[in-house]
């Protein structure tokens, strides 16, 4: 019963600010509402025994990406964007598509019989993740770091002021 209560609270913390993110006319408010959404997702990771992913989520999403988004909002025209129309002409169609998608996805996920297995997760999560990254997934690890390097160089070159 306690687990269900925690799950419901974390879901509300995730989903209610997400509604503000996609509907608010104030861009700064939308960007700051990302923080509780990411923290709610962090809580969901903790309930799923993924402590290392939860820590990385706080560092990268709630810390880095939100700040990056806030900087770009401040650097582009209009700031909060309150005087400008923020939605395009297809708001109703978009809402219809998103609602239909939600109904279809939830119907399929509840109708499918998932091959659920009982078992316990590794006791030390960070150690298990580190071992997996440096043994079975070493290639994934290296390629991801290469992609990160290339994309950061690309971002610097794209954002540089041209002489």
């Amino acid at each position: 019963m306690g687990k269900l209560a925690v799950f419901i609270i974390l879901s509300c913390v995730t989903l209610i600010p997400a509604v503000i993110v996609v509907t608010s006319r104030n861009m700064v408010r939308a960007a700051l509402s990302l923080v509780p959404t990411f923290l709610g997702v962090t809580g969901l990771y903790v309930t799923l025994d993924a402590e290392f992913v939860a820590g990385i989520q706080v560092l990268i999403y709630a810390g880095a990406i939100t700040v990056l988004i806030l900087f770009v909002i401040m650097l582009t025209e209009g700031g909060t964007g309150l005087r400008v129309r923020q939605m395009n002409a297809q708001t109703k169609l978009g809402a219809l598509v998103a609602f239909g998608m939600a109904v279809v996805l939830i119907a399929f996920t509840t109708a499918t019989r998932w091959p659920v297995k009982a078992g316990t997760m590794p006791r030390y999560n960070a150690a298990a993740v580190g071992n997996a990254f440096l043994t079975s997934y070493a290639l994934v690890f290296e390629v991801t770091s290469l992609v990160l390097l290339v994309s950061l160089i690309g971002a610097i070159i794209i954002a540089r002021r041209e002489e």
Partner: protein, 103 residues
């Protein structure tokens, strides 16, 4: 009532659809990127939830989630750099006004 895989999948589906709504209806390129971040978070919840309920004992789903988080950081950096470049060249960050290539 026990919390199961389906509960997490339902929350993830709702988060995905909110992100989809943002991507489809926002005019500001930064707001569209925020919608994409919500979608990637929904995918990550799925990875971690499947890891716990379908193959407990392994951490492959968490590895995938970490890779997705890294790629989301790359995508945010490049995307926001593109927004800055477009804003500098065209004086706007609203995607329906960026129509140089449109016939």
């Amino acid at each position: 009532m026990e919390v199961g895989l389906t509960h997490y999948l339902a929350v993830s589906a709702l988060l995905f659809c909110l992100g989809l709504f943002g991507v489809l209806t926002r005019r500001n390129a930064v707001a569209i990127l925020m919608g994409i971040e919500l979608i990637l978070n929904a995918a990550n919840i799925n990875f971690v939830a499947f890891n716990k309920y379908v193959s407990p004992g392994a951490v492959s789903g968490q590895i995938f989630a970490l890779v997705v988080i890294t790629l989301a950081a790359c995508e945010a950096a490049v995307g926001l750099a593109l927004v800055m470049a477009a804003y500098r060249g065209l004086e706007t960050a609203y995607v329906d006004e960026i129509n140089l290539m449109k016939w």
